[in-house]
């Protein structure tokens, strides 16, 4: 069978700003700095970029960024909805543009001052979820008003069913912070966490989410350049092919407030996504060397591991406790420390870590060579060597 055109694309460049709690720069400058780093990483110049992709939630206008970078002309722009669940969809949008011929080199960017500026995790952040508390609605006015609460609500019934405790969640956080402790880019570089410290941290949403179950809020920017597989072979970096890039949204699904469908419908959604990853790439998600799982809050790692079939339903607790996701484990997860340990650039920095592992450039480089990486959230990728 001939490969899907979408999979004849590659990630040619990645770039980031420093990550901090107070950048002291505008969001547009963060976007421009990260973008330039990604373009140069690929061995390209701004004149080579002819498409742009970002999130609907990003406040940086494409044309403002174009002007800042000195890009002579754009032929393609698009944005993904769904917040961080759309992070991997940016790659799909860019790959679709390249493989269809609509654009030749697409710049993906995400940049914000979500710590020093608008606190992203707060109900009053207006972070694209609606006008918190300003008019009556089915969630905010009932105090169901933050992303942390939405994950807690989703996870409560699961935790009851499978006997998962806060301590079980803490074991994942300890492994994430261990990865972060040896990543100089990470907010928690040289700051590992003990299970006791996790258990002593305050509740954010009782009885599921403690302080250390939450991702960071970060000031920073991250960017990626996508082009064709053929062109990537002639560029500066080892080729990272996009073997699969997909989204899946079952009927009655909602982003953040996913309270209106059955567990069976959610399971079917996860299964179909796995089938699509297999159809595009020829491999199943659990056949990868490592995984980057969307980790805004610890519950999303648990559910992500099981949705992608890296372990069975209800088995994430044992999978994590046995050390599979940590250093030296059989399925290393979030080797940069993830969104909890490195930075929260809405998932884009987790894609970048996957790229670095394939190139052999990660601060926590896995030994023996990384050929296939799963990047998973509400959208998903399989990246790898050509």
């Amino acid at each position: 069978m001939s490969p899907l055109p979408l999979t004849l694309t590659a990630i040619a460049g990645v770039g980031e700003t420093d990550y901090s709690a107070n950048s002291g720069r505008s969001e547009l400058r963060l976007a421009a700095e990260a973008s330039l780093a990604a373009i140069r990483d690929a061995g390209l110049t701004p004149a080579d970029i002819d498409g742009m992709v970002t999130f609907t939630m990003d406040f940086n206008d494409e044309l403002d960024l174009q002007r800042s970078l000195g890009i002579p002309g754009l032929n393609w722009t698009s944005r993904t909805p769904f917040g961080g669940n759309g992070a991997n969809a940016t790659i799909q949008l860019a790959a679709a543009a390249v493989s269809s011929g609509a654009a030749q080199a697409v710049l993906i960017y995400r940049a914000f001052n979500e710590r020093s500026g608008r606190r992203f995790g707060a109900p009053e952040s207006h972070a694209g979820f609606g006008m918190a508390g300003k008019k009556v609605d089915f969630h905010y006015t009932l105090a169901f008003d933050t992303a942390a609460k939405s994950y807690a609500m989703e996870f409560q019934a699961y935790a009851r069913r499978y006997g998962v405790t806060s301590e079980d969640l803490g074991r994942y956080v300890v492994s994430a912070r261990d990865w972060a402790s040896t990543n100089p880019r990470a907010a928690y570089f040289e700051k590992p966490l003990t299970l006791e410290e996790h258990q002593a941290s305050r509740w954010i949403v009782e009885p599921i989410i403690r302080r250390w179950d939450c991702c960071l809020e970060t000031d920073g920017g991250a960017a990626i350049v996508v082009t064709s597989l053929d062109r990537a072979r002639d560029l500066k970096q080892p080729v990272v092919r996009i073997h699969a890039a997909t989204q899946r949204h079952g009927i009655n699904s909602r982003i953040i407030y996913d309270a209106y469908r059955t567990e069976e419908e959610k399971a079917a959604e996860a299964r179909v996504m796995n089938e699509e990853l297999l159809r595009q790439s020829g491999i199943r998600p659990h056949e990868v060397d490592m995984a980057m799982i969307y980790d805004a809050f610890t519950p999303s790692v648990y559910l992500g591991l099981e949705d992608r079939g890296l372990c069975g339903r209800g088995e994430a607790k044992a999978f994590i406790a046995e050390g599979h996701t940590g250093r030296g484990g059989s399925m290393p997860v979030n080797t940069n420390g993830g969104l909890m340990g490195e930075a929260y650039i809405h998932g884009i920095n987790n894609i970048i870590e996957g790229v670095r592992q394939i190139r052999g450039q990660s601060a926590n480089q896995l030994t023996g060579g990384v050929e296939r990486v799963l990047v998973s959230g509400g959208s998903a990728l399989i990246l790898g060597t050509p």
């Binding site: 009932l142 105090a143 609500m153």
Partner: protein
């Protein structure tokens, strides 16, 4: 106008109003302009019994700022089959159970008539 206006007009009168397709009979919530099963735009508004069961919950209490009225937020399934997010009054975290039967009422909170619930006096069938 918004599709959800009908729910809040009912709420102001203490009535739990949910949309039902006038052609195929499918209940839907939150309100939507078209039936996802038969694509009809003909809709009835049905007053529900208020009987429901608890599927999941969280205690909403701000972690660092004093919060004098922590609220229990619950995900419910109505006896009519659709789902609803509401607040549960009079039950502490330690007494929460999956499947707990509740009855829905409306109460004004922060200026809005909001769906609240309490433990059902009798177990729903």
């Amino acid at each position: 106008m918004r599709d959800e206006d009908v729910f809040w007009e009912g709420a102001a009168q203490g009535r739990l109003l949910v949309q039902k397709c006038a052609d195929c009979g499918l209940f839907r919530h939150p309100p939507a302009p078209m039936c996802s099963r038969c694509q009809s735009v003909n809709v009835e508004v049905v007053e529900c019994s208020g009987k429901a069961k608890v599927l999941s919950w969280l205690l909403s209490k701000h972690p660092t700022r004093p919060d004098d009225s922590p609220r229990m937020v619950v995900r419910l399934q109505l006896a009519e089959g659709t789902y609803l997010v509401a607040n549960l009054q009079g039950v502490g975290l330690e007494d929460m159970e999956v499947g707990m039967p509740v009855e829905i009422f409306f109460e004004e909170i922060n200026g809005f008539p909001l769906p609240q619930c309490r433990l059902a006096r009798e177990v729903a069938a």
